[in-house]
Symmetry: C2
Amino acid sequence: MDDIKSYVQQHKQRFLDELIELLKIPSVSADPAYSQDVIDTANAVKASLEKAGCDLVEICDTPGYPIVYGEKIIDKNLPTVLVYGHYDVQPPDPMDLWTSPPFEPVIKTTELHPEGAIFARGACDDKGQMYMHVKALEYMVRTNTLPCNVKFMIEGEEEVGSKSLGWFVERNHEKLANDVILISDTGMISNQQPSITTGLRGLSYVEVEVTGPNRDLHSGLYGGAVANPINILAKMIASMHDENNHITIPGFYDKVQELSQEERAEMAKAPFDLDKYKKALDLNDIYGEKGYVTNERNSIRPTLDVNGIWGGYTGEGAKTVIASKAYAKISMRLVPNQDWEEITELFTKHFEAIAPSGVTVKVKPHHGGQGYVTPTDSIGYQAAARAYEDSFGVKPIPVRSGGSIPIVALFEKELKSKTIMMGFGLDSDAIHSPNEHFGIFNYLKGIETIPLFYKYFVELSK
Amino acid sequence: MDDIKSYVQQHKQRFLDELIELLKIPSVSADPAYSQDVIDTANAVKASLEKAGCDLVEICDTPGYPIVYGEKIIDKNLPTVLVYGHYDVQPPDPMDLWTSPPFEPVIKTTELHPEGAIFARGACDDKGQMYMHVKALEYMVRTNTLPCNVKFMIEGEEEVGSKSLGWFVERNHEKLANDVILISDTGMISNQQPSITTGLRGLSYVEVEVTGPNRDLHSGLYGGAVANPINILAKMIASMHDENNHITIPGFYDKVQELSQEERAEMAKAPFDLDKYKKALDLNDIYGEKGYVTNERNSIRPTLDVNGIWGGYTGEGAKTVIASKAYAKISMRLVPNQDWEEITELFTKHFEAIAPSGVTVKVKPHHGGQGYVTPTDSIGYQAAARAYEDSFGVKPIPVRSGGSIPIVALFEKELKSKTIMMGFGLDSDAIHSPNEHFGIFNYLKGIETIPLFYKYFVELSK
């Protein structure tokens, strides 16, 4: 398809300008301070879908942030592709580590992006990857090459657990009826070696609170005589991994799917350079669960990480205080067959059980999601593989990702269809970090590849 | 001495008003944002000493905040009392737990203070207790009953380690020459049972930093494969106490002075109600070092407490991030014979030694001070004991406090004189906590008792 290649080259600048406008709106769903910006972003997405050629576009109200729904139905007898994406972004902090303001997009070149990359929060996750689908639709509509029906469902709460999306999907089976779900919210190995994510980890995210004395105390007068909630919290967190970095929560591993030696050997084929990996992160060594290599630790194995901790005096200088309370945000990445709600319960029971007398603890479940695996023999996967091979000239490798898209499992349960994760980002794009960026090559390559997926999916569906 | 009692009654309202004015200035030495307020407070103290009758008052510059020096020399052949106090205060946070603004003093009654107490940061620690000495001087000067020479040395960095005070004392041996040092910066058992603090704990205060990856990472893509600095910090902190809550730093206890069974039996005589203690703090149980009771754990035993911890995402909602860095402020309370600089070194060496590969750690010593013991057979202690007995009608009990006044040991080393700690606060006064307060009874009783100390000290010195 040279048409798409030349179309992309012809409209390249406009495609970049449109994405940059979208990135300027700080749609941080985790922080209520940005709620109006989140709404504004939903409206911007709606307008872009209308311009791209959808026949019907709606802002669908939910208990939380709205979902933007759009569709172009050309023939009821043809297959339907449902595109999912999200228009909300992660909080930008720590702000001081950004080399340019997170919501003032700029194009800079990097070692991996010699053609330049757009630096902004959400550039890759997920505004940039979501917008590739909008532009792919524009191409197919304008050139009259859309081979099937298409529906868009773009949500605004992915970074905080997609609560409203679940609510919406459960109530709109018919509206969302489809033959395959297409998502670009993952990465690929490199610009030379594309890959398709076939597995995702689940997630259980909780916040814990440890309370000691009913007020902050002078550490001289009380130190040594009462339980210090920060020391206790540290002790409780530390006890959750044993000396082999196995998680100690009873029952945590009971349902974990162990991979066969063959599967692990297949995984090991993905190119990986440990020295480069360490160098990129300035690490003197890696760290993790005994008996597994890095690419297994961050994909097929469950984890427990503290994402945030706070308590006591954290200002300038010194304060000799024993805090009344200490807090932590803790998330567990789960693998297929681990049920996130069951894991959340196991965590809660365990955390309460190990709390020593002298303190009281509270566990507040935040959100979660199930893990997922895409069968590589499915039509959807085959269509995606051909699309990548055409546009990159290289066969994509199927990989299991450590990340979570909590609603993929929900889609299968509610909509009975498989999800194909066509990601075009790179691990080095710093999503969820300061200086998030998305390569111009990747953005345009995505727009090129997506119409090929439609073409092959329709062909293989016949 | 009914004169002093009636004088206090007669001027009670003015004594309260003057202290309240002083408490309105937020002299938080730990936070540079308040630096001008700290200076303003020094000037206010200078003016109060001049008004009270000092012949000479100076604002003495130091590398840090100034020291207010005042003196009234009536006869070179008479003994000299050096009064020490501090005009700086602890940071007020957490602000939201204050029932009235920390720097807008109000008088409220409490169960222990039926005559009312002044609620404000610094009310007890140490503006209120320091100002008792100013008013006691005023009385002795106006009634011409000052029986000896008096010097005042009021500093502005006690809450951050008194660095400049050490600098000042070392350079002013002659100016500060004295026969006894008098400090009111401690508490007593109750308004019915006065006590005199004869021992103080030393202090070593450090800040630690644990660094993992060079940037915040997505916990899904990297979780399980790299060391999480928060998890590691928790593990390191947890490892610093064993199952008996003994501190595990090698050499930490080597120089700790063990008390004899007799001394411990003497200590046990101090009235203590464990149920009341737990109830006052809403604790279901106490917690501490095996083999020692509460009153020993917080006085004759060294401790290690985390005073603050922070890292990762601590805002609203959820963020699935692995932080690049985690921090903690850690203080160790020390007992006589433990050298704070040596302990700081032991801590640093140990903390660096237990850091796993995969992270790097930094230890930044904040400040510290030595422990101290006042001999109960000294003239100073005897004079103080009689003064309390006269004004309270009850013999005071000598007690060891868990708190630290880092410079008391320095005074002995540099000025070769003993320090008497005549404290009038109560443990329940919430110093270093929200809603700090100081009983009106205690404030006025202090002003009454201090002139008696001068009287007896001069008599016993003859």
